[in-house]
Protein backbone atom coordinates (compact mmCIF):
# COMPACT_ATOMS: atom_id res chain seq x y z
CA UNK A 1 0.00 0.00 0.00
CA UNK A 2 2.67 2.37 1.08
CA UNK A 3 4.81 1.51 -1.89
CA UNK A 4 1.94 1.99 -4.30
CA UNK A 5 1.21 5.46 -3.00
CA UNK A 6 4.87 6.40 -3.33
CA UNK A 7 4.89 5.31 -6.95
CA UNK A 8 1.74 7.29 -7.73
CA UNK A 9 3.45 10.36 -6.32
CA UNK A 10 6.52 9.61 -8.36
CA UNK A 11 4.49 9.23 -11.55
CA UNK A 12 3.17 12.71 -10.94
CA UNK A 13 6.46 14.34 -9.93
CA UNK A 14 8.65 12.84 -12.66
CA UNK A 15 6.90 14.98 -15.30
CA UNK A 16 8.37 18.11 -13.78
CA UNK A 17 12.06 17.24 -13.74
CA UNK A 18 13.25 13.87 -14.96
CA UNK A 19 10.71 13.62 -17.79
CA UNK A 20 9.96 17.30 -18.26
CA UNK A 21 8.30 17.45 -21.69
CA UNK A 22 10.12 20.58 -22.87
CA UNK A 23 13.45 20.59 -21.12
CA UNK A 24 14.23 16.89 -20.70
CA UNK A 25 12.37 15.20 -23.57
CA UNK A 26 12.18 18.17 -25.96
CA UNK A 27 8.76 17.18 -27.28
CA UNK A 28 5.88 19.46 -28.24
CA UNK A 29 8.22 22.20 -29.49
CA UNK A 30 5.82 23.80 -31.97
CA UNK A 31 3.15 24.95 -29.48
CA UNK A 32 5.86 25.74 -26.93
CA UNK A 33 7.19 28.33 -29.37
CA UNK A 34 4.01 29.36 -31.15
CA UNK A 35 1.66 30.25 -28.31
CA UNK A 36 4.11 31.62 -25.75
CA UNK A 37 3.80 35.27 -26.72
CA UNK A 38 2.08 35.85 -23.40
CA UNK A 39 1.64 34.18 -20.03
CA UNK A 40 -2.14 33.84 -20.44
CA UNK A 41 -1.90 32.23 -23.90
CA UNK A 42 0.58 29.72 -22.51
CA UNK A 43 -1.76 28.95 -19.62
CA UNK A 44 -4.79 28.17 -21.79
CA UNK A 45 -2.78 26.07 -24.22
CA UNK A 46 -1.48 24.16 -21.21
CA UNK A 47 -4.99 23.59 -19.84
CA UNK A 48 -6.11 22.24 -23.22
CA UNK A 49 -3.14 19.86 -23.29
CA UNK A 50 -3.80 18.66 -19.70
CA UNK A 51 -7.37 17.79 -20.65
CA UNK A 52 -6.41 15.94 -23.84
CA UNK A 53 -3.52 14.15 -22.16
CA UNK A 54 -5.59 12.93 -19.22
CA UNK A 55 -8.41 11.78 -21.49
CA UNK A 56 -6.10 9.90 -23.85
CA UNK A 57 -3.98 8.38 -21.06
CA UNK A 58 -7.11 7.09 -19.30
CA UNK A 59 -8.49 5.43 -22.40
CA UNK A 60 -5.19 4.08 -23.63
CA UNK A 61 -4.60 2.58 -20.20
CA UNK A 62 -8.14 1.15 -20.00
CA UNK A 63 -7.83 -0.46 -23.42
CA UNK A 64 -4.18 -1.44 -23.10
CA UNK A 65 -4.93 -5.16 -22.96
CA UNK A 66 -7.36 -5.03 -25.87
CA UNK A 67 -5.41 -2.92 -28.38
CA UNK A 68 -3.48 -5.12 -30.82
CA UNK A 69 0.16 -4.10 -30.86
CA UNK A 70 0.51 -3.72 -34.64
CA UNK A 71 -2.22 -1.12 -35.07
CA UNK A 72 -1.81 0.64 -31.73
CA UNK A 73 -0.60 3.96 -33.17
CA UNK A 74 -3.70 4.58 -35.34
CA UNK A 75 -5.87 3.67 -32.36
CA UNK A 76 -3.91 6.03 -30.11
CA UNK A 77 -4.45 8.76 -32.67
CA UNK A 78 -8.23 8.23 -32.59
CA UNK A 79 -8.18 8.22 -28.78
CA UNK A 80 -6.24 11.51 -28.90
CA UNK A 81 -8.28 13.15 -31.66
CA UNK A 82 -11.56 12.71 -29.78
CA UNK A 83 -10.72 14.95 -26.79
CA UNK A 84 -9.04 17.42 -29.16
CA UNK A 85 -12.34 17.85 -30.98
CA UNK A 86 -14.08 18.34 -27.62
CA UNK A 87 -11.54 21.01 -26.62
CA UNK A 88 -11.96 22.73 -29.96
CA UNK A 89 -15.74 22.88 -29.67
CA UNK A 90 -15.72 24.03 -26.03
CA UNK A 91 -13.12 26.72 -26.67
CA UNK A 92 -14.86 27.97 -29.78
CA UNK A 93 -18.13 28.25 -27.88
CA UNK A 94 -16.96 29.73 -24.57
CA UNK A 95 -13.72 31.59 -25.32
CA UNK A 96 -13.72 32.46 -29.02
CA UNK A 97 -11.07 35.17 -28.59
CA UNK A 98 -8.56 32.74 -27.09
CA UNK A 99 -9.52 30.13 -29.69
CA UNK A 100 -8.60 32.61 -32.42
CA UNK A 101 -5.29 33.53 -30.79
CA UNK A 102 -4.20 29.91 -30.42
CA UNK A 103 -5.42 29.29 -34.00
CA UNK A 104 -4.41 26.09 -35.71
CA UNK A 105 -2.36 25.05 -32.70
CA UNK A 106 -5.54 23.87 -30.94
CA UNK A 107 -6.35 21.20 -33.56
CA UNK A 108 -2.62 20.51 -33.84
CA UNK A 109 -2.62 19.19 -30.25
CA UNK A 110 -3.55 15.94 -31.97
CA UNK A 111 -0.01 15.66 -33.37
CA UNK A 112 1.66 17.09 -30.28
CA UNK A 113 4.37 14.53 -29.59
CA UNK A 114 3.87 14.81 -25.81
CA UNK A 115 0.53 13.08 -25.98
CA UNK A 116 1.57 10.24 -28.24
CA UNK A 117 4.78 9.95 -26.24
CA UNK A 118 2.94 9.52 -22.92
CA UNK A 119 0.48 7.06 -24.50
CA UNK A 120 3.23 4.97 -26.03
CA UNK A 121 5.80 5.08 -23.24
CA UNK A 122 3.53 5.09 -20.18
CA UNK A 123 -0.24 4.66 -20.42
CA UNK A 124 0.11 1.70 -22.77
CA UNK A 125 1.99 -0.22 -20.07
CA UNK A 126 0.58 1.05 -16.78
CA UNK A 127 -2.65 0.88 -14.75
CA UNK A 128 -5.18 3.64 -14.95
CA UNK A 129 -4.44 5.54 -11.73
CA UNK A 130 -0.76 5.75 -12.52
CA UNK A 131 -1.61 6.87 -16.03
CA UNK A 132 -3.79 9.66 -14.66
CA UNK A 133 -0.98 10.83 -12.39
CA UNK A 134 1.43 10.64 -15.30
CA UNK A 135 -0.89 12.74 -17.46
CA UNK A 136 -1.45 15.32 -14.73
CA UNK A 137 2.27 15.57 -13.97
CA UNK A 138 3.40 15.90 -17.57
CA UNK A 139 0.51 18.19 -18.43
CA UNK A 140 1.05 20.52 -15.50
CA UNK A 141 4.79 20.63 -16.12
CA UNK A 142 4.10 21.50 -19.76
CA UNK A 143 1.67 24.22 -18.66
CA UNK A 144 4.24 25.60 -16.23
CA UNK A 145 6.88 25.66 -18.99
CA UNK A 146 4.56 27.51 -21.35
CA UNK A 147 3.67 30.02 -18.65
CA UNK A 148 7.29 30.71 -17.75
CA UNK A 149 8.37 31.10 -21.38
CA UNK A 150 5.24 33.15 -22.09
CA UNK A 151 5.91 35.41 -19.11
CA UNK A 152 9.53 36.03 -20.14
CA UNK A 153 8.60 36.84 -23.74
CA UNK A 154 5.62 38.99 -22.76
CA UNK A 155 7.62 40.96 -20.21
CA UNK A 156 10.60 41.62 -22.49
CA UNK A 157 8.39 42.14 -25.53
CA UNK A 158 5.84 44.49 -24.01
CA UNK A 159 7.54 45.73 -20.85
CA UNK A 160 4.73 44.40 -18.64
CA UNK A 161 2.67 41.35 -17.72
CA UNK A 162 -1.08 41.15 -18.23
CA UNK A 163 -3.40 38.65 -16.53
CA UNK A 164 -6.92 39.42 -17.62
CA UNK A 165 -7.54 43.06 -16.77
CA UNK A 166 -4.69 43.14 -14.25
CA UNK A 167 -1.51 44.63 -15.72
CA UNK A 168 1.81 44.73 -13.87
CA UNK A 169 3.22 47.34 -13.89
CA UNK A 170 0.74 49.83 -15.33
CA UNK A 171 3.18 51.41 -17.78
CA UNK A 172 5.99 49.52 -19.54
CA UNK A 173 9.15 49.48 -17.40
CA UNK A 174 11.54 49.92 -20.32
CA UNK A 175 11.47 50.21 -24.07
CA UNK A 176 10.05 46.80 -25.00
CA UNK A 177 11.94 44.66 -27.52
CA UNK A 178 9.19 43.60 -29.90
CA UNK A 179 11.49 40.94 -31.36
CA UNK A 180 10.65 38.80 -28.32
CA UNK A 181 7.11 38.35 -29.63
CA UNK A 182 8.34 37.22 -33.07
CA UNK A 183 9.70 33.79 -34.08
CA UNK A 184 13.40 34.72 -33.62
CA UNK A 185 12.66 35.87 -30.07
CA UNK A 186 10.78 32.64 -29.32
CA UNK A 187 13.52 30.35 -30.58
CA UNK A 188 16.29 32.30 -28.86
CA UNK A 189 14.41 32.52 -25.53
CA UNK A 190 13.76 28.78 -25.41
CA UNK A 191 17.33 28.03 -26.55
CA UNK A 192 18.86 30.28 -23.91
CA UNK A 193 16.60 28.81 -21.19
CA UNK A 194 17.66 25.29 -22.15
CA UNK A 195 21.30 26.36 -22.26
CA UNK A 196 21.09 27.88 -18.77
CA UNK A 197 19.35 24.75 -17.48
CA UNK A 198 22.02 22.53 -19.03
CA UNK A 199 24.76 24.59 -17.40
CA UNK A 200 23.04 24.43 -14.01
CA UNK A 201 22.51 20.68 -14.32
CA UNK A 202 26.12 20.16 -15.42
CA UNK A 203 27.40 22.22 -12.47
CA UNK A 204 25.14 20.33 -10.02
CA UNK A 205 26.26 17.02 -11.50
CA UNK A 206 29.89 17.97 -11.06
CA UNK A 207 29.32 19.01 -7.46
CA UNK A 208 27.47 15.77 -6.71
CA UNK A 209 30.30 13.78 -8.23
CA UNK A 210 32.93 15.44 -6.09
CA UNK A 211 30.83 15.15 -2.93
CA UNK A 212 29.56 11.61 -3.20
CA UNK A 213 31.01 9.61 -6.06
CA UNK A 214 28.45 7.18 -7.44
CA UNK A 215 28.65 4.44 -10.04
Amino acid sequence: MNEKRASLGYDFIKGFIKENPTFALAVGMCPTLAVTTSLVNGFWMGIAVIFVLTFSNVFVSLLRKVIPDEIRVPIFIILIATPVVIVELVMKAYMPAMYNILGIFVPLIVVNCIILHRAESFAHKNPILNSVMDALGSGMAFTLNLMVIGAIREFLGTGQLAIGSLVFPKAPLFEPAVVMLTPPGGFITLGVLMALLNIVVARAGKRKQTESPRG
Binding site: A177, V178, V179, T182, A195
Partner: protein
Protein backbone atom coordinates in the same frame (compact mmCIF):
# COMPACT_ATOMS: atom_id res chain seq x y z
CA UNK B 1 46.64 31.25 -29.52
CA UNK B 2 46.75 32.25 -33.14
CA UNK B 3 47.18 28.59 -34.00
CA UNK B 4 44.01 27.59 -32.19
CA UNK B 5 42.00 30.04 -34.18
CA UNK B 6 43.34 28.68 -37.45
CA UNK B 7 41.65 25.35 -36.82
CA UNK B 8 38.42 26.24 -38.59
CA UNK B 9 36.95 23.88 -41.17
CA UNK B 10 37.73 25.85 -44.32
CA UNK B 11 41.47 26.39 -44.49
CA UNK B 12 41.08 30.04 -45.31
CA UNK B 13 43.92 31.81 -43.62
CA UNK B 14 47.11 32.10 -45.62
CA UNK B 15 50.11 30.76 -43.82
CA UNK B 16 52.19 33.92 -43.74
CA UNK B 17 49.58 35.89 -41.82
CA UNK B 18 48.34 35.62 -38.29
CA UNK B 19 44.71 36.07 -37.29
CA UNK B 20 45.78 39.07 -35.26
CA UNK B 21 47.54 40.69 -38.22
CA UNK B 22 44.54 40.29 -40.51
CA UNK B 23 42.17 41.63 -37.89
CA UNK B 24 44.42 44.63 -37.35
CA UNK B 25 44.38 45.30 -41.10
CA UNK B 26 40.57 45.30 -41.03
CA UNK B 27 40.54 47.72 -38.08
CA UNK B 28 42.90 50.05 -39.97
CA UNK B 29 40.73 49.79 -43.09
CA UNK B 30 37.63 50.74 -41.10
CA UNK B 31 39.24 53.84 -39.58
CA UNK B 32 38.56 56.22 -42.51
CA UNK B 33 34.85 55.33 -42.47
CA UNK B 34 34.67 55.76 -38.69
CA UNK B 35 36.43 59.14 -38.85
CA UNK B 36 34.20 60.26 -41.72
CA UNK B 37 31.16 59.21 -39.68
CA UNK B 38 32.30 61.28 -36.70
CA UNK B 39 33.05 64.31 -38.91
CA UNK B 40 29.68 64.03 -40.67
CA UNK B 41 27.43 63.20 -37.73
CA UNK B 42 29.35 64.61 -34.79
CA UNK B 43 29.76 63.71 -31.15
CA UNK B 44 26.82 61.28 -31.11
CA UNK B 45 28.53 59.12 -33.70
CA UNK B 46 31.73 59.00 -31.66
CA UNK B 47 29.75 58.00 -28.58
CA UNK B 48 27.95 55.18 -30.41
CA UNK B 49 31.23 53.83 -31.81
CA UNK B 50 32.87 53.94 -28.40
CA UNK B 51 29.91 52.29 -26.64
CA UNK B 52 29.72 49.54 -29.22
CA UNK B 53 33.44 48.69 -29.17
CA UNK B 54 33.68 48.79 -25.38
CA UNK B 55 30.59 46.61 -25.02
CA UNK B 56 31.89 44.08 -27.57
CA UNK B 57 35.30 43.77 -25.94
CA UNK B 58 33.85 43.66 -22.43
CA UNK B 59 31.27 41.01 -23.40
CA UNK B 60 34.01 38.85 -24.91
CA UNK B 61 36.21 39.16 -21.81
CA UNK B 62 33.39 38.62 -19.33
CA UNK B 63 31.96 35.60 -21.16
CA UNK B 64 35.33 33.95 -21.64
CA UNK B 65 36.24 34.52 -18.01
CA UNK B 66 32.84 33.17 -16.89
CA UNK B 67 33.23 29.90 -18.80
CA UNK B 68 36.91 29.71 -17.82
CA UNK B 69 38.26 29.96 -21.35
CA UNK B 70 41.32 31.86 -22.45
CA UNK B 71 40.43 35.52 -22.93
CA UNK B 72 41.11 36.42 -26.57
CA UNK B 73 40.24 40.10 -26.71
CA UNK B 74 43.69 41.01 -28.02
CA UNK B 75 43.01 39.32 -31.38
CA UNK B 76 40.97 42.42 -32.34
CA UNK B 77 38.00 40.36 -33.55
CA UNK B 78 35.70 41.80 -30.88
CA UNK B 79 36.91 45.30 -31.75
CA UNK B 80 35.96 44.70 -35.39
CA UNK B 81 32.52 43.38 -34.43
CA UNK B 82 31.87 46.41 -32.23
CA UNK B 83 33.16 48.82 -34.85
CA UNK B 84 31.21 47.24 -37.71
CA UNK B 85 28.00 47.20 -35.69
CA UNK B 86 28.38 50.88 -34.75
CA UNK B 87 29.03 51.88 -38.36
CA UNK B 88 25.71 50.29 -39.42
CA UNK B 89 23.64 52.11 -36.77
CA UNK B 90 21.78 55.40 -37.16
CA UNK B 91 23.82 58.13 -35.41
CA UNK B 92 21.08 59.25 -33.03
CA UNK B 93 20.11 55.92 -31.43
CA UNK B 94 20.16 55.76 -27.61
CA UNK B 95 23.49 54.55 -26.24
CA UNK B 96 22.01 51.33 -24.84
CA UNK B 97 21.24 50.15 -28.40
CA UNK B 98 24.90 49.56 -29.39
CA UNK B 99 25.63 48.21 -25.90
CA UNK B 100 22.91 45.54 -26.14
CA UNK B 101 23.63 44.90 -29.82
CA UNK B 102 27.36 44.33 -29.33
CA UNK B 103 26.76 42.04 -26.36
CA UNK B 104 24.25 40.03 -28.44
CA UNK B 105 26.74 39.81 -31.32
CA UNK B 106 29.57 38.56 -29.14
CA UNK B 107 27.72 36.27 -26.72
CA UNK B 108 24.74 34.85 -28.62
CA UNK B 109 26.01 34.88 -32.21
CA UNK B 110 29.67 34.02 -31.57
CA UNK B 111 30.72 32.77 -28.14
CA UNK B 112 27.83 30.35 -27.44
CA UNK B 113 28.98 28.42 -30.50
CA UNK B 114 32.53 28.25 -29.20
CA UNK B 115 34.00 31.57 -30.32
CA UNK B 116 35.72 32.96 -33.38
CA UNK B 117 35.54 30.63 -36.37
CA UNK B 118 32.46 28.77 -35.15
CA UNK B 119 29.82 31.43 -35.79
CA UNK B 120 27.76 30.88 -38.94
CA UNK B 121 26.48 34.44 -39.19
CA UNK B 122 28.41 37.68 -39.28
CA UNK B 123 28.03 38.75 -35.62
CA UNK B 124 27.68 42.48 -36.32
CA UNK B 125 25.02 41.98 -38.98
CA UNK B 126 23.06 39.40 -36.97
CA UNK B 127 23.05 41.87 -34.08
CA UNK B 128 21.88 44.63 -36.43
CA UNK B 129 19.01 42.42 -37.63
CA UNK B 130 18.16 41.68 -34.00
CA UNK B 131 18.13 45.39 -33.09
CA UNK B 132 16.03 46.19 -36.15
CA UNK B 133 13.47 43.56 -35.13
CA UNK B 134 13.56 44.62 -31.47
CA UNK B 135 13.43 48.43 -31.71
CA UNK B 136 12.34 49.18 -35.30
CA UNK B 137 11.57 52.84 -34.69
CA UNK B 138 15.00 53.70 -33.30
CA UNK B 139 16.67 51.78 -36.09
CA UNK B 140 14.79 53.55 -38.89
CA UNK B 141 14.24 57.07 -37.58
CA UNK B 142 17.15 58.20 -35.40
CA UNK B 143 19.11 60.00 -38.12
CA UNK B 144 21.29 63.09 -37.91
CA UNK B 145 21.68 65.70 -40.64
CA UNK B 146 25.29 65.68 -41.85
CA UNK B 147 27.47 68.65 -40.77
CA UNK B 148 24.57 70.50 -39.10
CA UNK B 149 24.29 67.75 -36.46
CA UNK B 150 20.58 68.16 -35.79
CA UNK B 151 18.27 65.18 -35.51
CA UNK B 152 16.14 64.07 -38.45
CA UNK B 153 13.42 61.43 -38.58
CA UNK B 154 12.59 61.48 -42.27
CA UNK B 155 13.30 58.48 -44.50
CA UNK B 156 16.80 58.09 -45.93
CA UNK B 157 17.42 59.02 -49.59
CA UNK B 158 17.47 55.32 -50.44
CA UNK B 159 13.72 54.94 -49.75
CA UNK B 160 12.94 57.66 -52.28
CA UNK B 161 15.43 56.23 -54.75
CA UNK B 162 13.82 52.78 -54.53
CA UNK B 163 10.39 54.25 -55.21
CA UNK B 164 11.27 56.62 -58.07
CA UNK B 165 14.60 55.42 -59.45
CA UNK B 166 16.20 58.80 -58.99
CA UNK B 167 17.77 60.95 -56.29
CA UNK B 168 18.29 64.66 -55.80
CA UNK B 169 21.78 64.11 -54.36
CA UNK B 170 24.79 65.15 -56.42
CA UNK B 171 27.66 62.81 -57.19
CA UNK B 172 29.92 64.77 -54.84
CA UNK B 173 27.41 64.60 -51.98
CA UNK B 174 27.14 60.84 -52.37
CA UNK B 175 30.91 60.40 -52.57
CA UNK B 176 31.52 62.45 -49.43
CA UNK B 177 28.53 60.98 -47.60
CA UNK B 178 26.54 64.18 -47.10
CA UNK B 179 23.19 62.45 -46.66
CA UNK B 180 21.07 60.78 -44.00
CA UNK B 181 22.26 57.29 -43.22
CA UNK B 182 24.05 55.00 -40.80
CA UNK B 183 27.28 56.28 -39.24
CA UNK B 184 29.75 54.46 -41.45
CA UNK B 185 27.79 53.73 -44.62
CA UNK B 186 27.49 57.17 -46.19
CA UNK B 187 31.06 58.26 -47.01
CA UNK B 188 31.83 56.20 -50.10
CA UNK B 189 35.29 57.78 -50.45
CA UNK B 190 36.36 56.58 -46.99
CA UNK B 191 34.94 53.10 -47.59
CA UNK B 192 36.70 52.91 -50.94
CA UNK B 193 39.97 53.89 -49.27
CA UNK B 194 39.55 51.10 -46.69
CA UNK B 195 38.48 48.61 -49.35
CA UNK B 196 41.51 49.36 -51.54
CA UNK B 197 43.77 48.95 -48.51
CA UNK B 198 42.29 45.50 -47.81
CA UNK B 199 42.63 44.50 -51.47
CA UNK B 200 46.22 45.74 -51.61
CA UNK B 201 47.09 43.84 -48.42
CA UNK B 202 45.44 40.75 -49.92
CA UNK B 203 43.10 40.48 -46.95
CA UNK B 204 39.91 40.26 -49.04
CA UNK B 205 39.13 38.77 -52.43
CA UNK B 206 38.05 41.30 -55.09
CA UNK B 207 35.47 38.83 -56.41
CA UNK B 208 32.98 39.32 -53.57
CA UNK B 209 32.68 43.15 -53.70
CA UNK B 210 32.86 43.09 -57.49
CA UNK B 211 30.14 40.44 -57.75
CA UNK B 212 28.02 42.22 -55.15
CA UNK B 213 28.20 45.78 -56.43
CA UNK B 214 28.23 44.65 -60.08
CA UNK B 215 25.05 42.60 -59.68
CA UNK B 216 23.34 45.38 -57.76
CA UNK B 217 24.35 48.01 -60.33
CA UNK B 218 23.28 45.97 -63.35
CA UNK B 219 20.06 44.86 -61.68
CA UNK B 220 19.17 48.43 -60.73
CA UNK B 221 20.02 49.61 -64.22
CA UNK B 222 17.54 47.08 -65.63
CA UNK B 223 14.72 47.23 -63.07
CA UNK B 224 15.46 50.35 -61.02
CA UNK B 225 13.10 52.76 -62.74
CA UNK B 226 9.45 51.87 -62.11
CA UNK B 227 7.57 51.11 -65.31
CA UNK B 228 10.62 51.27 -67.56
CA UNK B 229 13.39 48.79 -68.25
CA UNK B 230 17.08 49.73 -68.63
CA UNK B 231 16.54 53.25 -67.26
CA UNK B 232 17.75 52.82 -63.66
CA UNK B 233 20.70 54.65 -62.13
CA UNK B 234 23.36 52.04 -61.29
CA UNK B 235 25.81 54.40 -59.58
CA UNK B 236 23.32 55.80 -57.08
CA UNK B 237 22.21 52.23 -56.31
CA UNK B 238 25.63 51.27 -55.00
CA UNK B 239 26.36 54.66 -53.40
CA UNK B 240 23.10 54.95 -51.46
CA UNK B 241 22.31 52.59 -48.60
CA UNK B 242 24.75 50.11 -47.11
CA UNK B 243 25.87 48.15 -50.16
CA UNK B 244 29.41 49.58 -50.17
CA UNK B 245 30.26 48.84 -46.54
CA UNK B 246 28.52 45.46 -46.84
CA UNK B 247 30.34 44.44 -50.01
CA UNK B 248 33.84 45.30 -48.77
CA UNK B 249 33.68 44.65 -45.05
CA UNK B 250 30.89 42.19 -44.30
CA UNK B 251 30.31 39.87 -47.25
CA UNK B 252 34.07 39.21 -47.18
CA UNK B 253 34.19 38.00 -43.56
CA UNK B 254 36.43 34.89 -43.54
CA UNK B 255 34.42 32.81 -41.13
CA UNK B 256 30.99 33.25 -42.72
CA UNK B 257 31.73 33.41 -46.45
CA UNK B 258 32.87 30.74 -48.94
CA UNK B 259 36.50 29.64 -49.17
CA UNK B 260 37.23 29.34 -52.85
CA UNK B 261 37.39 32.06 -55.53
CA UNK B 262 34.31 30.80 -57.32
CA UNK B 263 32.38 30.48 -54.09
CA UNK B 264 33.28 34.06 -53.21
CA UNK B 265 32.00 35.27 -56.56
CA UNK B 266 28.72 33.43 -55.96
CA UNK B 267 28.58 35.00 -52.50
CA UNK B 268 28.83 38.46 -54.07
CA UNK B 269 26.29 37.78 -56.79
CA UNK B 270 23.83 36.23 -54.32
CA UNK B 271 24.13 39.21 -51.98
CA UNK B 272 23.60 41.60 -54.90
CA UNK B 273 20.49 39.77 -56.10
CA UNK B 274 18.83 39.56 -52.69
CA UNK B 275 19.66 43.20 -51.91
CA UNK B 276 18.09 44.21 -55.23
CA UNK B 277 14.95 42.16 -54.65
CA UNK B 278 14.40 43.46 -51.11
CA UNK B 279 15.04 47.07 -52.17
CA UNK B 280 12.70 47.01 -55.14
CA UNK B 281 9.97 44.62 -54.04
CA UNK B 282 10.48 44.03 -50.32
CA UNK B 283 9.08 45.30 -47.06
CA UNK B 284 12.27 47.12 -46.02
CA UNK B 285 14.01 50.05 -47.74
CA UNK B 286 17.40 48.36 -47.46
CA UNK B 287 18.26 44.68 -47.91
CA UNK B 288 22.02 44.56 -47.37
CA UNK B 289 21.83 43.14 -43.84
CA UNK B 290 19.41 40.36 -44.76
CA UNK B 291 21.11 39.59 -48.07
CA UNK B 292 24.49 38.98 -46.43
CA UNK B 293 22.92 37.03 -43.55
CA UNK B 294 21.05 34.78 -45.98
CA UNK B 295 24.23 34.14 -47.97
CA UNK B 296 26.03 33.38 -44.68
CA UNK B 297 23.42 30.67 -44.10
CA UNK B 298 24.04 29.00 -47.46
CA UNK B 299 27.83 29.36 -47.28
CA UNK B 300 28.32 25.79 -45.97
CA UNK B 301 26.26 24.50 -48.91
CA UNK B 302 28.23 26.62 -51.39
CA UNK B 303 31.48 25.28 -49.96
CA UNK B 304 30.19 21.73 -50.09
CA UNK B 305 28.43 21.51 -53.43
CA UNK B 306 29.36 24.35 -55.72
CA UNK B 307 33.06 23.91 -55.31
CA UNK B 308 34.71 20.53 -55.65
CA UNK B 309 37.05 19.60 -52.86
CA UNK B 310 40.33 18.07 -53.76
CA UNK B 311 41.66 17.16 -50.38
CA UNK B 312 40.63 14.32 -48.12
CA UNK B 313 38.90 11.09 -49.06
CA UNK B 314 35.26 10.14 -49.05
CA UNK B 315 34.22 13.34 -50.76
CA UNK B 316 34.05 11.79 -54.23
CA UNK B 317 30.28 11.94 -54.39
CA UNK B 318 30.17 15.60 -53.50
CA UNK B 319 32.96 16.48 -55.89
CA UNK B 320 31.08 14.83 -58.69
CA UNK B 321 27.84 16.58 -57.81
CA UNK B 322 29.50 19.93 -57.44
CA UNK B 323 32.03 20.08 -60.22
CA UNK B 324 30.30 17.93 -62.77
CA UNK B 325 33.58 16.29 -63.58
Amino acid sequence: MGDRLLVTPPPHVKSAKTVQGIMLDVVIALCPAAIAGIVLFGFRAALIILASVVSAVASEAIYQRAVKKQVTINDFSAVITGLLLALTLPPNVPVWIPVIGAAFAIVVVKQLFGGLGNNFLNPALAARAFLLAAWPLHMTQDWVNPMSYDAATSATPLAGFNATGQTALTFKEMLLGQRLGSIGETCILALLLGGIYLLARDVIDYRTPLGYLGTLAVGTWIFGKPGELFQGNPLSAIFLGGAFIGAFFMATDYVTSPVTPRGRLYMGIGCGLITLVIRLWGGYPEGVTYAILFMNLVTPLIDKYVVPRYYGSGHDKMARKGGGR
